[in-house]
Symmetry: C2
Subunit: 527 residues, 2 copies
């Protein structure tokens, strides 16, 4: 990660290649390839994956209207081609953003920071006037499915610095977030009736997305480090189509390796290597959904409460402490990595990106061009101004260190409150090390109605009791990958991301009360 | 449209109902129903359409995570539920927009307008401080698939004023543009192997979207008013599955009724009524893709050049001159109308909306919640500030009148140039009355190589000749609905939207030269 040191000082981008100015025009076609460093040229190419494409994806062709814009790279040509409105007919003349400054390492003083009065702005004429390479004329008009060249450059550079994929022909393409990216990947790779491997408990939206497409999620066994490679290997080695509606042997692993949603588990480097090895043996593609990558924390120790506790003070510290991603160890090009800005900048902007080998990215872009079209230009412009013009890569990393410290603090407050207020006889947890979520297990067999009520009903009753007490959780059953099989355990997911920091202890206190009431425990033990 | 008169003056929104303040919170659930006028209560309900849902759509369930937010309407509840980041972790503190003023009717003086210095702004604290109902805290966080309550209200009101659907249970839901909306509608309604009826030439992106899904577009015959109802009736009355790969009888009509892309044709009110009648007889659903609705112009007369020529000076004038939409005559609730801001405000914002009966909108939202998630909050906030806070409905209509006049001027310049510069022996056109496109037919039989080159090759050669001369057009074959059948005619599509106004004549002059060269006509006839 030594590259990051080069990004300090006035010349933030010493390695950037010169580009043709037509690169920055309205809906100008572009590719990550233009922005990758030459170091990539010496790497081997990805394996071939065409045999895994769905019929839908294999049949995709490039969009005529997106492609026609390539002819406008010649400034002599007058366009009577695409139905691209004149900038005069777009009624925004100027936009400004007042951002936070990139937080200095270790700084906890947010009030001091909010006095910084930097204002980022864009008008319609910044490109023609040479004031910027990205302006309102470009951002508010049509774009390409891969995103604007301006912001795709930053994303490509960031990906190379952080993940440095070990094969040559990797590419990035912008997305409107990981949910949409996963939806498009499932359409690209899976056919009705296919089985997709995933953590036993996983992102409920992924389950709800896959089910109407006729896909079956197969939940793999987990421990405190997430997926067990032995479970993955066992399912694949003993695949019996007859037990799965005659489905072919799975070739897709969908995993959330860091701060897994909902269990909060994080796969160690060794765990990732072991899973990747099984993926090679059975020739899997890995869908790496990793929105919480930078929300990795240190171990919880009860003395941590209220302190950042992570000891992260510098860029070097951060990168020493980040577990390498699947993309970083992906010598075969079998990983499709989905990154999102939702958890680290803003969910509402709907911006993320996907990184994979060129064959996959091409299919993805063909789909984007005829569905989502492109991410919002306003979102891209705001992020470009913040991340490229103002913070730069090094400033962004400082922000990530700040977030890591803040989330660690929140996690510590939550866990402290749990230790103080929850009846450990009936609820248990392992402190989470990344992301936004804490997973709780209920010892339902101690519930007074355990013998004559279904687990489903008990889960619902305890959940409603908690809401009645004033604390909203998510029910574990929403996240059960193999919905039809059900489960013989009761879990709840809590997040320490949403509530005001000073309310977290109160919320856990209420949960404790609700549990005592539901389980008819004496009130005065710990509360 | 008398309602519009009520929207002048200081109280722009006299009919708005009071709403609960929790309506404006982060990811707060909402529905058009909250914002429709009471007049709708007296209308009949839509017919039932569940029998047309695809298996995929019928299997959709509400999203657990979007639904859980409903519990936060109670301010007592502390959320440890959704992974919604705290506003502190979103590094934008303030945003401002400098918009154009709503153009006064008939004003052509754009320089005077740009001196208006109104600035719209939003901070993170506008809602808590009572300064606005929409702020950065809300816009930059997660949203609902239907869009933000704040902007959905404006969209619902606009739809009621302009289209006033004649049934009670209509709803709107925000989209990220008509391309994505159509993609989702096809997934909602069509199954692999289905045939979808459409204009003989249609939006190339729709063709490219449908083909990989295994859908076949059937192109209907057209005249200068678009689809011929007789052609629609004939295809349906004589449906023979064996001629269409055993496909069931079509029940979807995809049409662009106004300024059709690519032919530029506009269906008259009588034509729409006749098509709707056939749709009733054969129980069709109509996918009304209408981004150019407000770009309707008057007839072209050659004396018009350079003048707005439409005589539209007031709101009443405008509405007298707008052809009613399919939605407006849709007593059965069989129309799914797709509106877009791409052609009237900004394509890059990726914002539009869909209007249909409640049954359809519910399915659409279930899909949105687990795919696109929601339109960009920055885009919604910018549009809310412009259209609700600043312009209001009446100001927006003034802007639409301005656009209509400007597009009319551009159309007139283009057609004048065609009359002056194009060799009428080999190219012909009917001046367009709406939208952005002019459709040209080539008399290819006069081409010197007509006897020994394929139409495909001739089309390509003439196209390249035009690009070589410096004018970019779109090839007609890109828009051929029934791609496999091919066509025995050559067309090109030109837009008058993209080029600077003063370049349009030059572009057409170059096209004239290219045609003369390709057809070996003498240079000096008209140029």
């Amino acid at each position: 990660m030594a590259e990051l040191n080069n990004l300090k000082g006035p010349n933030l981008y010493p390695r950037r290649k010169p580009v043709n100015p037509s690169q920055w025009g309205v809906a100008a076609p572009c590719s990550s390839e233009q922005f990758k460093s030459d170091d990539n040229k010496h790497k081997p190419l990805a394996k071939q994956w065409h045999h895994y494409l769905s019929i839908e994806s294999a049949n995709r062709m490039p969009s005529s209207l997106k492609h026609v814009v390539t002819h406008l790279q010649d400034p002599h040509v007058i366009s009577l081609g695409g139905g691209i409105p004149s900038a005069d007919f777009i009624p925004f003349e100027e936009i400004t953003f007042r951002p936070l400054s990139p937080i200095s390492s270790g700084s906890q003083d947010r009030k001091a920071l909010s006095t910084v009065k930097t204002t980022l702005y864009a008008t319609k004429h910044d490109i023609t006037e040479g004031a910027s390479i990205y302006d309102l004329t470009t951002a508010l008009n049509y774009g390409q499915g891969c995103g604007s060249a301006q912001f795709l450059r930053w994303v490509t550079e960031h990906t190379e610095m952080v993940h440095n994929p070990p094969y040559a022909d990797w590419r990035c393409s912008m997305t409107i977030g990981n949910t949409s990216a996963l939806d498009m990947c499932l359409h690209m790779l899976a056919q009705q009736g296919d089985c997709v491997l995933t953590e036993k408990y996983t992102f409920s939206t992924a389950i709800e997305m896959a089910q109407p497409l006729g896909l079956n999620f197969i939940g793999l066994e987990m421990d405190h480090e997430g997926i067990l490679p032995e479970s993955l290997s066992e399912v694949l080695s003993n695949w019996n189509p007859e037990l799965h509606g005659n489905a072919r042997k799975p070739f897709l692993l969908y995993t959330i390796p860091t701060g897994q949603n909902p269990t909060g588990t994080t796969q160690s480097f060794q765990r990732r290597q072991a899973v990747y090895q099984v993926a090679r043996e059975h020739d899997l593609l890995i869908l790496e959904d990793d929105p919480y990558y930078f929300l990795q924390m240190n171990e919880y120790a009860s003395s941590n409460e209220g302190h950042s506790g992570t000891g992260i003070r510098s860029l070097e510290d951060l990168f020493m402490n980040l577990i390498p991603s699947y993309l970083r160890i992906d010598t075969d090009g079998r990983v499709i990595r989905m990154d999102s800005f939702s958890k680290v900048i803003s969910p509402g902007a709907r911006l993320g990106w996907i990184t994979a080998c060129q064959q996959i990215i091409e299919r993805f872009q063909f789909h984007t061009d005829v569905s989502t079209q492109s991410p919002s230009g306003l979102s891209q412009l705001a992020f470009f101004k913040l991340l490229d013009d103002y913070w730069g890569h090094a400033g962004y990393v400082k922000w990530l260190i700040h977030l890591r410290n803040e989330y660690t603090k929140r996690r510590n407050v939550l866990i402290s409150a749990c230790e103080k207020h929850l009846p450990k006889d009936v609820i248990s947890w392992e402190p989470t090390h990344a992301g936004m979520f804490q997973w709780f297990e209920i010892d339902w067999q101690k519930h007074p109605n355990a013998s004559h009520k279904s687990l489903h009903l008990l889960e619902e009753e305890i959940w409603e009791e908690s809401i009645f007490a004033g604390t909203l959780l998510c029910k574990g059953s929403w996240f059960c990958a193999s919905a039809r099989k059900g489960t013989d355990r009761i879990f709840y997911r809590a997040t320490f991301a949403a509530a005001p920091l000073h309310k977290i202890e109160e919320a856990i206190g209420r949960l404790g009360k609700a549990l005592r009431k539901a389980f008819r425990l004496e009130e005065d033990i710990t509360f």
